[in-house]
Amino acid sequence: MTVMTKMKAFATAAGFAATLMVGGASMASAEEVTLTMAVPDWPPTRIMKKFFDEQYKPKSGNTVKLDVDFIPWPDFYTRVNASLTSGEQKYNFIVSDSQWLGAFVEGGYFRKINDLLEADPDFMATFKSIHPNPLNAYSTYPHKSENYYGFPQFPDVLVNFARADILCHEEEQKNFQAKYGKKLPCTGEELDAMTWDDFRNVGEFFMRKKGDMLAGKPAEDDFYGIAYQAGKGYDFSSMQINGFIWQMGGNTWDETQAPKGQAEGVVNSPEAVKALEKYLDMIQFMPPVAKTGTMDIFKSDELFREGKVAMNIDWIGLGEASLDPKTSKVSDKLVFGQMPGTMGPDGKMIRWSNIGGQPFVLTTWTTDAQIKEAVEFVKWWLSPEIQHQFAAGGGQSAIKSVYEDPKYVTYRPWNRAWAPQLDWQKDVWHVPQFFELLTQQQDQFDLAITGKQDAKTTLDNIAKFQQNLLKEAGLIE
């Protein structure tokens, strides 16, 4: 190549680039904006994508695309974590478990949205119409501060899945009354009124061997009274045990009290030990897999759908499959109620429970143009009309005007438990040390669940570890 041809080639290339730039600028009036999103692959996110594709019309006149990566649940954290920490800056929106907020905010990945809320009164009004408990859990870091990050994608609580066909059977009703001097809960309202002691009785009462009579027929297989999560993986025992501890007057390490709040003496308080003992005591009335430490939320749900237990405490998020005859042997025999509570000294029921569900959050590298469209999209998503459709399609809504609408309870049988339970939701550990706290606690709970150590030792070990770790991190003085 001579010098001349080189020059010519350069000039052509420069001209081409300039044309592109000018062309690009003149097109700015109707831009194409793509929002990428990492979500777990399950119905609530599929519905979101479907609604978006079918119904969303951006007000700006731009063409807005929602590019969604559906990631299977078991891989979800690993993939999101790898994407964020590797710095690939791929996603604008990320569905996040509420407890991941601290780690990812501190890492500089999740974008604070206070400026967006303040700039847009409509947006603020919508945002503030979210029930305060999910709002605190899903959006604030530090927990319960005024720094906001997320919006509810699928809010969730624990509810009681129960078998009406067995619970309401006359014979069983009579025998239960004779044995415990109390009526066997059968309707939704009766389920709501249950305490953990009643739940235990149901567990004990319905332990049947193959061939024993069960609701007027010989049982085809061994049958068990109750089930709840008691697995070693992820948070599949903590989310249940936390509720027990809070209801019975104990506490977990309270991040809102940092750095004054302690772990030792709180986490292993006598009340907490008692609560854990109560939790462990009921495992004997559950399907035997609970003794192996692998009874996670999916296993107990499967056992329930296969008709092996009378009652199961699980997330609403898994409920849809139990109503579908294709995936459930008990689809037409169900009744739902609130998770059991503990009777307070004043005769009022205490119902604290650990919130489930996920918010979705914006990432820090999202451009201004994308943010503009993202805000419009979120406003649309949280608008009552879409939230109603979402709930009707199997989602849940934390927007006050939506779940208070009389229509709401008609969407799904468990919705009657939704609004009252929302008032009793708490959350734990939005701090960056979340995963260390969780794995150690899950390991310890697993030792207790599989019968290798007692409740006191378990909570002592947890308290010691937390005290140590949080002190090093400066969260405990």
């Binding site: 297989d221 399907p287 035997p288 570890f465």
Partner: protein
């Protein structure tokens, strides 16, 4: 075409494109200066450019001096370096820093990570505990696979009806994905849905739960692992068995040599090398056992292995440099074990 003599060696300071010695010198100086003076993000690219410069000098040098063999393998070496050696060195470097992948700060701490993973009363205890479990799994899974694989190979070395189809069936577990096998075995062992408990319940009349104690959980994992990997041992041994010349057996038969002696003097020398290879492969793999543990027990009932422990520390908890330190301790152990084993294997083969 005229025969060219290769260019005369150039002096160290000649700024020629093929002066690789100078390139290394400049590269090292630039690297040092950049790491000391520039912020990490910029230094990274300076070091990258320096490495590319050195590589380019080598390539030009090889081209001018017509080391075409070297040029031909250069792409492979480049890929190896970028994909393998560089990350390895990078993680080795990270193990001397306090660094978490989800935080922006990084601080040099020397050997502190190693001290922590080996002596800290909380961290080290968990590591040693996982390491002992891993050793246990290595012994059990590898011996199970070697024995079963060897016996299967002896069986399939003979001719019998349907041998070909049975062989395919036996090889199938090895080709399945570990996740599929893991899920299969969770159901197989499940006390409510599983066939194992069904059979045992009917036999004993008692509730049978395999995975609720350490013995059962370890047995479950070892069985699943042996099920998947015995065929691999079998394949290797089978290759050795079919390579034994028939006439040796015929001669032995004429001499009326006992079957036992035939095996030790004819068959075994042919398969020993392959058995050793299978043992080596399986030991290294067993040392890394994590997938089945995650799928079957999540590390419960005393089945935590060092690999799974490492995954939790490095990936879930983002303690990158601590994870790197554990990895290098592990790597060191595997290298020592492998060399010890190779040394013993060589000594034995020289002895006979």
């Amino acid at each position: 075409m005229t025969v060219r003599t290769s260019p005369t060696p150039i002096s160290f300071f000649a700024p020629s494109a093929d002066n690789w010695k100078l390139a290394i010198f400049v590269g090292v100086i630039a690297t040092l200066l950049a790491t000391l003076a520039l912020p990490a993000a910029a230094a990274f690219w300076v070091v990258g450019v320096a490495a590319a410069l050195i590589a380019a000098a080598f390539v030009v040098n090889a081209y001018r001096r017509r080391y075409y063999g070297g040029l031909l393998v250069a792409p492979a070496i480049a890929v190896l370096f970028v994909m393998n050696i560089f990350p390895l060195l990078w993680s080795l470097g990270l193990s001397f820093f306090a660094y978490q992948s989800n935080q922006q700060s990084i601080r040099f701490v020397g050997l502190q990570n190693y001290v922590k993973v080996l002596t800290n009363d909380l961290a080290a205890e968990a590591n040693w505990y996982a390491l002992i479990n891993t050793a246990m799994f290595v012994v059990f899974t590898v011996s199970a696979q070697m024995i079963v694989g060897f016996l299967l190979a002896m069986l399939f070395a003979k001719q019998f009806p349907l041998r070909r189809y049975l062989l395919i069936l036996v090889l199938t577990p090895m080709m399945l994905s570990v996740v599929a096998s893991g899920v299969f075995f969770t159901y197989y062992y499940d006390p409510t849905f599983g066939i194992l408990s069904y059979v045992m319940n009917n036999l004993t009349g008692q509730q049978f739960i395999l995975m609720d104690n350490k013995v059962g959980a370890v047995a479950g994992i070892v069985f699943a692992d042996a099920w998947m990997w015995s065929p691999f041992v079998m394949l290797l041994v089978l290759a050795g068995l079919v390579s034994v010349p028939k006439y040796l057996y015929e001669a032995a038969a004429i001499d009326r040599v006992s079957a036992w002696r035939q095996f030790w003097t004819i068959t075994f020398p042919y398969i020993r090398g392959l058995l050793m290879l299978a043992l080596l492969f399986r030991t290294i793999e067993a040392f890394k056992l994590a997938d089945l543990v995650i799928l079957l027990t999540k590390g419960g009932n005393d089945t935590m292995t060092i690999s799974y422990h490492l995954i939790r520390i490095a990936n879930e908890q983002n303690k990158t440099s601590e994870g790197a330190a554990i990895s290098y301790v592990m790597l060191f152990m595997v290298i020592v074990l492998t060399n010890l084993y190779l040394y013993l294997a060589n000594r034995r083969s020289q002895g006979t």
